[in-house]
Symmetry: C2
Subunit: 465 residues, 2 copies
């Protein structure tokens, strides 16, 4: 990794030291919380037999294009460099410069498309590939509360099977994570893309208008029934047919799942739609055997945004939170889009940022140690001796910070207990202590202070907890 020696004068005075808009620095206290949650997610996912996968932040742009519909404009694109950029700028194509001419790489937009690429690429993967992936994604969306331009997703997916066991497993894993984190009031909303399509046809809407009808339905929670009816008409859909569709999908809040599915089955005129209802009945039976059972609810108006879903779809909604905390579904065609085998797949993505927001607002975190365990303060002894004692304590597993400069003891201890540091313990090493082979160990919260032999400090700290 060579570099060069002269710092160039250009732009050395940066105007702002903030991170880019919509992106964040995570300081140690933030990371204590993030790492706690990620640790739980990882543990539960692994318990479900999911194995880790990581893919590059950068993808060839052709992998991403054509997968996300109109949100494609939110993809961050990497510009050509050096000679390639110079060539393009010097000799632009006849119809002018555009993003596709200036760039052929982009930042990851979600974790599902990279997984599909990986499954298409590596023949050595197991037939039923159960992977989890916890990595950031980038979207040039308008930043807002709990909405960032760099944010983490925690995905689980199972590829290679059409069995509804896969749906049940990804939903159960997500619910187990939420239960373990202490979430209580939340609902796993379940629907089926082919049920929605069957209902659209049953309502008398033209098959060609399916996509646009779904886009309107997707806004039901945001703009209400009248709003959606208006949108449907605007999109060229017959008003009576639109009203029929809304009557079918916007069910009474107190209707049981059985009654809902029975009602839809009675109205359904579409074979694919009937098959979807049977699948949902089976899926309910499977979910009942898992932790997701009591959380699951059939919600026929659930549409989910992404274009690639082909079967059951899910969304986890936390009560009193405006937006969903997880979403997913079956996407049997996506891997095949990469031009090789067709591989069925189902997955679910937990939104880490929203989980963190809710946990912070509701005080759901356990006590998490962010600062150092022991600050080693010293007076009138050689710095090499201080480092030697630190070495001994660390070898015994104590997390030790050494006060780095000569200073008055009071100042050192004030620093250890001060804001931004908040060490749990101080260890004081003076000439007396060094001669005796002991450390004066002070518990900062209580002020308790004891003299402890170097080789007993670790157990002293553990005993005090």
């Amino acid at each position: 990794m060579p570099g060069r020696f002269r710092i160039q004068p250009r732009l050395v005075m940066a105007t702002s030291t903030k991170p880019p808009s919509g992106m964040r620095d995570f300081l140690p206290a933030d990371l204590a919380r993030r790492n706690f949650v990620v640790g739980v997610v990882r543990e539960i996912y692994e318990r479900y037999g999911f194995l880790p996968l990581e893919t590059p932040a950068v993808e060839n742009v052709e992998i991403l294009l054509g997968k996300y519909g109109e949100d494609e404009k939110l993809i961050y694109r990497i510009m050509h460099r050096g000679e390639e950029l110079a060539r393009v700028l010097k000799d632009p194509p006849a119809d002018g410069l555009d993003a596709d001419v200036l760039s052929d790489q982009a930042l990851r937009y979600d974790l599902t498309v990279p997984l599909a690429r990986v499954v298409a690429q590596y023949g050595e993967l197991p037939k039923y590939f159960k992977r989890y992936q916890i990595q950031p994604v980038w979207r040039a969306d308008r930043p807002g509360k709990g909405r960032f331009r760099e944010f983490y997703q925690c995905d689980v997916d199972i590829t290679g099977t059409e069995s509804l066991v896969a749906e049940a497993e990804v939903c159960a894993a997500a619910c187990d994570v939420l239960d373990r984190l202490g979430f209580d009031g939340y609902t796993l909303c379940v629907n089926h893309r082919k049920l929605l399509r069957g209902l659209i046809r049953t309502a008398g809407i033209d098959v060609a208008a399916e996509g646009t009808a779904l886009q309107a339905v997707d806004k039901l929670d945001k703009i209400g029934k009248d709003g959606v009816l208006g949108e449907l008409t605007e999109r060229g859909i017959d008003a009576a047919a639109g009203a029929r569709l809304l009557t079918l999908i916007d069910r009474a809040a107190d209707e049981t799942d059985e009654a809902c599915l029975d009602g839809l089955a009675a109205a359904m005129t579409d074979d694919e739609g009937r098959a979807a209802i049977e699948q949902l009945r089976t899926l309910r039976g499977l979910l009942a055997a898992t932790s997701a059972g009591p959380r699951a609810r059939i919600v026929p108006k659930l549409a989910r945004g992404l274009g690639y879903y082909t079967g059951p779809i899910f969304e986890i909604q936390v009560h009193d939170l405006g937006s969903s905390i997880a979403g997913g579904g079956r996407y049997d065609e996506l891997v095949g889009m990469f031009g090789k085998r067709k591989v069925p797949a189902v997955g679910l993505s937990l939104g880490l940022e929203r989980i963190l927001v809710v946990m912070a607002e509701r005080g759901m975190y356990p006590e998490l140690a962010a600062g150092p365990e022991l600050m080693l303060c010293w007076l009138d002894v050689d710095q090499a001796a201080v480092l030697g004692v630190a070495r001994q304590l660390r070898a015994a597993g104590v997390r030790v910070e050494v006060f780095p400069e000569a200073a008055k003891l009071g100042k050192q201890m004030q620093y250890a207990d001060g804001p931004g540091v908040k060490a749990k313990w101080c260890g004081i090493l003076g000439t007396d202590e060094l001669a005796r082979g002991e450390l004066t160990v002070k518990h900062l919260a209580s002020g308790e202070q004891t003299s402890v032999a170097f080789d007993a400090v670790a157990s002293h700290l553990r005993a005090r907890g």
Copy 2:
């Protein structure tokens, strides 16, 4: 996270499903190794009192420019989007389009400059900020063996102090990591930028040529003494002065550190250089109290590439490996470049990729479980019952994969033991087992098979190890 429903026809057939050139997908077996090493790094760094920091992948480009010298051309730049891009393309500036017009963001190039930005930005950080950061960086370098365009660095830095304790701590932490991972033959090469500058002046080279002289010296290991002499002359440096410099820095291999420093002190005519020698003597004394002591060696020809170093510099070299495995040094001016306070700092970066390459080549990994712990195979029982048993086992901490489809038992077990899966155990659930509340548990490597009550499976697996 909305999206739209129609998958657009454009570019749906991607030509390649490989990751971008120089970047990698990490499959589960890769991640077992990576996560093992990262876990050790994290544990040791935390034991030294370092706290985690994470910064965005994307930085405003003005933060990065002017920090890396001519390697700046390797920075990946993010292109403007949408209206901003359209505006620039439609109405380019008078002197034409270039990278700075088309882009104002870029991917992180290292972890040191983002740390300096963070220290300049957040007043609430502790005065002595000890942070570690393990994240990928991106460089559009030519890919090669062990050289990637996306790769992880594991950095430790201490800001806020000029004390050489900071140097000793970052070096000791890195050596502790390497010791713990099982590295044996390696050397911590130590030098001082101000010693080098003092020697350049002592040799009679003009102060203005310092930078260019260092660039030539940096190549000593690659192109040899004659090569560097040639380069020095090419760079306009007097041949006799160049030869004097090389005689000073290219010391006998068997010279002790004391003899080396004594020799340099006797020759040195520069006050700053003399002070640097005294600092190196002190640093040696501190390092001797740590795990880095036996590894440390004064190497006056060590130059280090990056422009921002101002004091001691380090590099860890593994014997028989062409390149270094870690590097770092003191950079007291970098935080101040962001226009606010001057904050001294010292840091060291472990190169994760090279550590992994060496460990693989030398067979240094312990046995790491990559596959599922137990594959739950089943016959003639309801799928919901299978999921119920899986739930019970998982609650007891077993990592369970459920065979997702109905299939012959032999086929299921063959899959469990097959390449790409390699489960450790099979659990067999048939009608008999379900009636008895037991699982037939088979250890796949040995073929041993026992019937175990559901609630005793976890302890059975733990007992067998």
